[in-house]
Amino acid sequence: MKVKCFGIVKEIVNQEILEIDGNVKISTVQELRTFLSKQFPEMSNINLCMVAVNQSYADDHTVISSKDEIAIIPPVAGG
């Protein structure tokens, strides 16, 4: 599963696209959050981030697979 990273998240994981091993079972946004907060202790506040699936904001129950375009959206600050 590939996860796009931006802003502070990109700096924490130190890459633009985080590749998660296919053996890791992640089937919902909530499972992705849990995985990331374990993998990257600095992301303990990951609940402040939104998750986008196929370029739309998703909720924790949204089902995801490696076919989806997934992105972590840290708190936005445009304008």
């Binding site: 506040n45 986008a52 370029q55 739309s56 840290p74 600050a77 445009g78 304008g79």
Partner: protein
């Protein structure tokens, strides 16, 4: 090419004229421009520059949603939303919103709604460069 909304994210200098000219319409007597520029202080700290990053494909979609809801909610005629990305220096333009409507009230309200919504939902991030370091605005991991 959509004639009622003009959405742009660019790493080049933004043009107020381009936004203004886009929204001008014979049926409209009220035109409101919001221009957000980079200021030199934030929370008592001296700013040297800002750097904006975006998830461009999604940001464009979110900006389109905002633009269309402006047209519907406020009876605005045309709207331009332009946002800069990359490094932006002091006094340079970070964002422009232009709205035209038949009368001024709708144009003012639509413009304010657009910038408020943009700040809430559009995936754009801002890094402030201070004299002793830099940090992402709103992000405290």
């Amino acid at each position: 090419m959509d004639k009622l909304i003009d959405i742009k994210i660019s790493d080049k200098v933004l043009s107020v004229d381009a936004c203004y000219n886009f929204v001008l319409d014979q049926s409209c007597g009220g035109n409101v421009l919001f221009v957000g520029t980079v200021r030199d202080m934030n929370k008592g700290e001296v700013i040297k520059k800002l750097a904006f990053e975006s998830y461009v494909e999604m940001a464009i979609k979110e900006m389109k949603k905002i633009a269309y809801s402006c047209l519907e909610k406020f009876d605005a005629k045309k709207i331009a939303l332009h946002h800069r990305i990359g490094d932006v220096g002091l006094e340079e333009i970070a964002v422009i919103i232009a709205v035209s409507a038949k009368h001024r009230k709708a144009a003012f309200e639509a413009c304010e709604f657009a910038i408020d919504e943009l700040k809430k939902s559009v995936p754009i991030w801002k890094k402030e460069y201070l004299e002793n370091g830099s940090y992402w605005v709103n992000a405290r991991p």
